[in-house]
C-alpha cells in the first residue's frame, strides 16, 4: 500500500494566490513536482504554444504537438536552470516537437504519396482584422505553408538559414527565396495599415 496520493488530499489554500505568481515561482513549483503549478503553466501558455505549433505543422497536428511539448516539459523541468525563462524554454520545445512532427509527416507522405495541403484553420481569410497585429496574423494564414513555416522559424524561433534548410530538408537557396516572398507579402500587408 502506498500513500502516493497524500499530496492530493492536502488542502491547498495557497493555490489561488499561486496562480497570480510570476513565471519563476510557478516554474520552480512545477519543477518541484507540483502538478497544480504545472496546470497554471499550461493555462498560461497553452494557447501560445498551440498557435506556434499550428504555424509550423498542419493545424490538425497542433494539439498533438502541444501535448508532446508539455509532457516533455514536465519531465525536463527539474533540469531547467533559469525558471524565469520558462516561456522561451517552452517555445524551444514546441519548435523542436513541431519539426519532429513535420519530418514524421514527410516520411509518411513519401510512403503514401498523397498530397496534403490543409487550409490553415487559423484566422479565416474572410475575417476582418481590427488591428495591425490581427491583419498580419491573417496574412500569415494566407501564406503558402512552406513560406509560413520558414518565416516563423526565422523570425519567431530565431533559426539561421542553414538550420532551417537542414530541418526542412531544403536547399538554403530555396529557404532564402521562400523568406523573401513571405517578407514581401507581410510587409505589403503591414504597409497597408500605415
Amino acid at each position: 500500500m502506498t500513500f502516493g496520493e497524500v499530496g492530493a488530499m492536502v488542502s491547498l489554500p495557497g493555490r489561488d494566490s499561486l496562480s497570480d505568481a510570476d513565471d519563476r515561482t510557478i516554474a520552480s513549483r512545477a519543477a518541484d513536482g507540483d502538478i497544480r503549478a504545472f496546470e497554471i503553466l499550461m493555462r498560461r501558455y497553452g494557447s501560445l504554444m498551440r498557435a506556434y505549433a499550428a504555424r509550423i505543422v498542419r493545424p490538425s497536428d497542433a494539439d498533438d504537438v502541444v501535448q508532446e511539448t508539455f509532457v516533455t516539459a514536465w519531465q525536463d523541468l527539474p533540469d531547467l536552470e533559469n525558471p524565469a525563462s520558462v516561456r522561451s524554454w517552452l517555445t524551444t520545445i514546441v519548435t523542436r516537437k513541431s519539426i519532429d512532427r513535420l519530418r514524421a509527416a514527410r516520411d509518411q507522405d513519401s510512403i503514401d504519396d498523397h498530397d496534403f495541403h490543409d487550409p490553415a484553420d487559423g484566422p479565416a481569410e474572410t475575417a476582418t482584422a481590427t488591428s495591425l497585429d490581427e491583419a498580419l496574423s491573417l496574412a500569415l494564414s494566407t501564406l503558402p505553408e512552406d513560406q509560413r513555416r520558414c518565416w516563423v522559424l526565422r523570425e519567431i524561433a530565431g533559426y539561421g538559414y542553414s538550420e532551417i534548410a537542414e530541418q526542412l530538408d531544403l536547399p538554403v537557396s530555396t529557404i532564402r527565396g521562400l523568406l523573401a516572398r513571405s517578407r514581401k507579402t507581410l510587409v505589403d500587408e503591414m504597409e497597408a495599415w500605415r
Binding site: 502516493g4 492536502v10 515561482t25 496546470e39 497553452g46 499550428a54 501535448q67 497585429d133 519567431i156 510587409v187
Partner: protein, 211 residues
Amino acid sequence: MTDITPEPSNTSPLDETSLDGHTIDELSDYLDRGRLPRDPSIESSAAAQHALAALSRLRAVAPRIIRADAAYFAPKNENWMSRILDQIGVQAHAGRDIPIPYDVPGADLSISEGAVRALVRAAGDDTDGLVVERTQLDGDLETPGAPVEVHVIVSTFADADDARVVPGFRRLVIDTIREHTDLVVTRVTVRVHDSDITDEDLDDDGNLVPR
C-alpha cells in the same frame, strides 16, 4: 497598352524591380548584420532605405503576430489539459519509497518521497508570507532510522517579516514530517530566495537562526 489601374504603381516598398538593383534577400542579410560593414550603394539608395525600414518594422511586430494568433488558436475545449495531466500522472515524480513501520505482519506501508515533498509545499501554503519553490530530501530514505536532511527554497512576500515567518514555517515543516512519517530529520535548511536577510539571521550553512 494603357494601364488604367486605380492602384498607385509603387505601393510595395519591397518591389524588387524598383530597389536600385538590390534584392529583399540581400537587404535582409544587411539588416541581420546590423547594417555593417556599411554598404554605400544601399545607404545611398532611397528605395533601399525605404525597404530596410519596412523590414525592420516587420521584425519589430513579429512577436506580436504570434500573440495575436494565440487568441484564434486557443484550445477549443477544456479536455486538452486533462489529456496531458492523465499522461504525466503516470510518470509523476514520485521519487523513492519511504517505509512506514507498521506492527502487523505482512503489512508493507510506505509513503512516496514526492508525497513528503508535497507536504512541505503544503506547509508553505499554510504559512502566510511565503511561497515554497523547491524542496529536497537528502539521506537514505529507504532505511528506517537513517538521518535525513530537508532543504527548502522559499520566496517571501515583500511585506513579510522573514525573521518571524521563516522560523515558523521551519517549525511547521518539522512537525508535518514528524506527523506523517517516521523519518529522522536531523536538519532543516530554509533558504530564502529574493529576500533581504542579514547575515546575523543565518548560520554558516544558510540556516535561519530563530531569535
